[in-house]
Subunit: 308 residues, 2 copies
């Protein structure tokens, strides 16, 4: 029972990551019901839809675990203040912010008696999170799916340095999908882990079946961190990612990337299952995830990391 | 005491990595004398010079540890067969091959009753190593210094997959510089670790003082894997690496990179201390190595990973 476990009132310090188009009410509730933090990804939700998901998640979750329901807010999207208000009004206790400054909302959320985590990918950002007053830091390595840091520091290299430079608990993210990787994260000094890709591959995730099949077919080396000139993001190899890769190899400018990316690519790929033109965000660890399972079965397996 | 320890007759399964221009007789002997595998990097040595280093290393090493002296042979350089013969004739017991096919020399070396390791960076290559008959595999992640794999798989993601796909012992390399990282590697299923960058920063390494100072000044994010179109290599940021980076961002072809790289850049940087025009190969973990110490002091610290 470490400090993170005490602050968050949790036995197994595992966070199911908030993921656009993938983690709605069903997944978050299934995870919270197993005693880990279950996160709704607000990045792909308009305020109304977010409210529906929060209410549904509450309904699906055993009240004794309501304190484990979280919402992730990527600060780069619009309507963020409305989203935060909805989560506050619906008594969400855990707020995870990412892709923006931790100074923006941490004080406001702490004043409202909430638990706040912020996602970072460097020692410098981690120190800013601590100064801003967050309760814990999620330090995310290069191997993580979705949006990512620019300096490419891997989880193995990042975690000990972050741990040595802040006093608050550090949650390791990126490259974690099995109990061996959880043990490794704790050996590095982490107080817990955040897991994304493994939970894409659940019966409860909103990922399209085509996307899940593509992940289970993925081989090691089939993801790549792309669009570093714009907003870096780790993508599964498909026609869309190959075009981006080729554009970058030829020295494409930010504007050209933005234009090709256009809108709706992530929804098209992950939610609607367009494996050709859609954007498929997933972690490097996808190369070792072959099965679609219930969140409950996965969590039972992951908890074995904590048996001594 | 795992299988690797039994085969190699070693108590603490740590390999000091062979590194061009950095790991000669003095460093290898200092490491072997502390009971870990001390490796001469043959990649930057003509056959004559290699013989001098081997003879000197033997003289400097306590005879009870002569079996822990190794030579690393990057198969991409010339005169490899002569080098191998010299190491055989001088009774080197451990042969580490890299940057080429494990099939090329493993049978020959096993017929000569030697222990063989081959460096790989993917599950596919690891299987080939096992088929070729090596005694153990060094699986090297994206964060490692020097030459590197193309698929960017990090140590945290690579090791469990390699371990699950071969029966022989797996040594983890890339991103390992402290005892927490050693523990993490073993949690992932590795039977030992190979450490490079930390040993650059020893009094016994041949790295130029300017290079050591540059490493101790390095911040997280100051290394980058470059030249993926040619032979990928992780470099410390300097004028040379910035030019390469810019050329790549503009879509430079392989031939242009080769021309700019020219010859002698690595020697110039690492051995002669030209921090402007020289190539400085170092791992991502350099961001957390601040001190120059004796190899002996470092190894005493690292061995703490094995205290239960």
């Amino acid at each position: 029972m470490n400090e993170f476990c005490r602050i968050f009132n949790i036995k197994h310090p595992i966070i199911q990551a908030g993921m656009v188009w993938v983690s709605g009410a069903k997944l978050a509730a299934a995870c919270a019901n197993e005693g880990i933090i279950g996160t709704i990804g607000a990045g792909s939700m308009k305020p109304d839809l977010l409210e529906q998901h929060i209410k549904k998640a509450k309904k699906l979750t055993n009240p004794k675990y309501h304190h484990l329901l979280a919402v992730n807010f990527p600060l780069l999207y619009g309507q963020i203040e409305e989203q935060l208000k909805i989560a506050l009004n619906n008594n969400i206790k855990i707020f995870i912010t990412s892709a923006g400054s931790p100074k923006k909302f941490t004080k406001f959320l702490k004043d409202n008696n909430r638990l706040v985590l912020h996602v970072c990918s460097s020692v410098k950002e981690a120190k800013k999170c601590e100064e801003a007053g967050v309760d814990a830091i999620i330090a995310e390595g290069f191997e993580a799916g979705g949006h990512n840091g620019r300096n490419e520091t891997t989880t193995l290299v990042l975690i000990p340095q972050v741990v040595d430079n802040v006093k608050i608990p550090v949650i390791a993210a990126g490259g974690i999908a099995c109990s061996r990787q959880i043990r490794a994260a704790h050996a590095l000094g982490a107080s817990g882990v955040q897991i994304g890709s493994r939970f894409v591959m659940t019966t409860e995730s909103s990922a399209h079946q085509n996307f899940k099949t593509a992940v289970s077919d993925a081989l090691p080396g089939d993801t790549k961190l792309l669009m570093k000139k714009y907003v870096p993001v780790r993508l599964l190899r498909n026609q869309f990612s190959e075009v981006i890769k080729e554009m970058e190899a030829k020295g494409a400018k930010k504007e050209e990337l933005v234009e090709y990316l256009a809108k709706g690519r992530a929804k098209k790929g992950m939610l609607e299952g367009d494996l050709i033109n859609g954007e498929l965000e997933i972690g490097q660890v996808s190369g070792m995830i072959k099965e679609i399972q219930s969140a409950s079965n996965i969590i039972k397996e992951l908890k074995k990391a904590y048996l001594s």
